[in-house]
Amino acid sequence: MVVGDVATGTDVLVIGAGPGGYVAAIRAGQLDLDVTLVEKDAYGGVCLNHGCIPSKALITATGIAHDAGTAEEMGIHADPEIDVGQMQEWKGGVVDQLTGGVEKLCKANQVNLVEGRAEFVDENEARVVHGGEGQGAETIEFEHAIVATGSQPIQIPGFSYGDEPVLDSRQALAMDDAPESLVIVGAGYIGMELAGVFAKLGTDVTVVEMLDSVLPGYESDLARPVKKHAESLGVEFHFGQSAAGWEETDDGIVVHTDAAGEDDEGLSIDAENVLVAVGRQPVTDTVELTAAGVETDDRGFIPTDDKARSNQEHIFAVGDVAGEPMLAHKGSKEGQVAAEVIAGEPAALDYQAIPAAVFTEPEIGTVGMTEAEAEDAGFEPMVGEFPFRASGRALTTGESDGFVRLVADAEEEFVLGGQVVGPEASELIAEIGLAVEMGATVEDVASTIHTHPTLSESVMEAAENALGHAIHTLNR
């Protein structure tokens, strides 16, 4: 029996409860808009359930074990055993706490929560399709909609995520046992973060990358320490190789690759599993965009303006579905702005910089412009650097690989960006980000007293180095 369609109305319909959608919904609720948030799977989206949070939980936990197991020099003798199932349970608890929190926060901000898949019927109406048979559909009339349907892993020919030995990042992050051996296809940030996790769980990891380095897109001096450290964990790299297919063998699988170079040869690598992490693509096939007249670009993203509006004035798109960089905090900012614009506030996406972090060992954090980007943008950049090996705090943690770099305009001296590779890089870029947004100069950063002994002193010293008078490094 089909239950008859129910029709309701809402000021703002938000589709998808990831960090783009749920933040939009909460902000809309705070601004006294009548808001309905529809989610088909789990509150928190990819980020909380299968991305940022699970990966960081496993990175930290395996890091704690690994650090203690490799600190003999510090006088620490330990041989930690990891119960991967138990680690997964703990991780699950963290995820539950956060997704439960999202649900509570939505309710506390008067967001109407609807479970199901929303698809547009026309420009002002959507249908919510509930899972399961005979559940009928609910129709929602909306004044404004915010599409926050996120992204999904790209699947490459020859590797179907439906096949058991083939994993996407979500499946890899949910394994109750570490495989003996793992081929990772793609040395982007997801591949590299997981390479570290599995290597620390004792898995033999081989990374296959089409291009010629890890973390393509990051400057080579940032990527280099990450590769070096992964190698020290036993990770093997093959560059200029693209994964072509896999077959079962007697005791696992073999992954075949094609060489990019004419003279090179393809490889055949034995493993228990293969993780494909070659990038993500927008999710738009769940939502019937065309029914609402919303256009996408040739990569499937919904193009938006600086108010997060799609080509349809009253329909917004935020988060991964709205384009690069596909990062949670970018989506959350867009979500806030979309809600504020709908509420008539003078909001816009007028930020200077979106920071990004890679939670490898060492971590990478970047915000704003690199030196090359500053040049391309017409600046004459001045650069200051400070190596962590000269940082007292870094030495006391035993992690002193890497450096802080600040890029500024040589003439006016305002900070244009920063790049950090090293301990807590993900946190250190917060201050640099504020400097960029505030139009702070390197002198402002250099003059701000920083606590001793901290890693953040290195930001100050990089600023002083740009000015030619760092204390703890030579000023060349």
Binding site: E413, A440, E443, D444, S447, T448
Partner: protein, 83 residues
């Protein structure tokens, strides 16, 4: 809170430089300014509270290093004209 109150020494210098100057002084009680701006004010010998604010930051006068330099130049020009 040095940056938000008048800097005595800077004020003294400024009175010297600016005596008889026609450049308008903003004469605030409190001014927000970044560290580099504070240094610029010392360098130019001007009182931050006297520098016309180029921006209001949520109501609070916010002075930039550039404004400090412009003010100092104007003061100097006025003084030269007087002389």
């Amino acid at each position: 809170e040095p940056a938000r109150s008048s800097q005595e020494e800077a004020t003294a210098n400024q009175q010297e430089v600016g005596s008889g100057a026609e450049t308008e002084s903003a004469d605030r009680e409190r001014t927000l300014a970044a560290p580099a701006t504070r240094r610029a004010a010392r360098e130019e010998g001007v009182d931050l509270n006297a520098v016309p604010a180029v921006e209001q930051r949520d109501g609070e006068a916010f002075v930039t290093a550039e404004a400090v330099r412009e003010y100092a130049e104007a003061q100097q020009a006025a003084q030269d004209a007087d002389a």
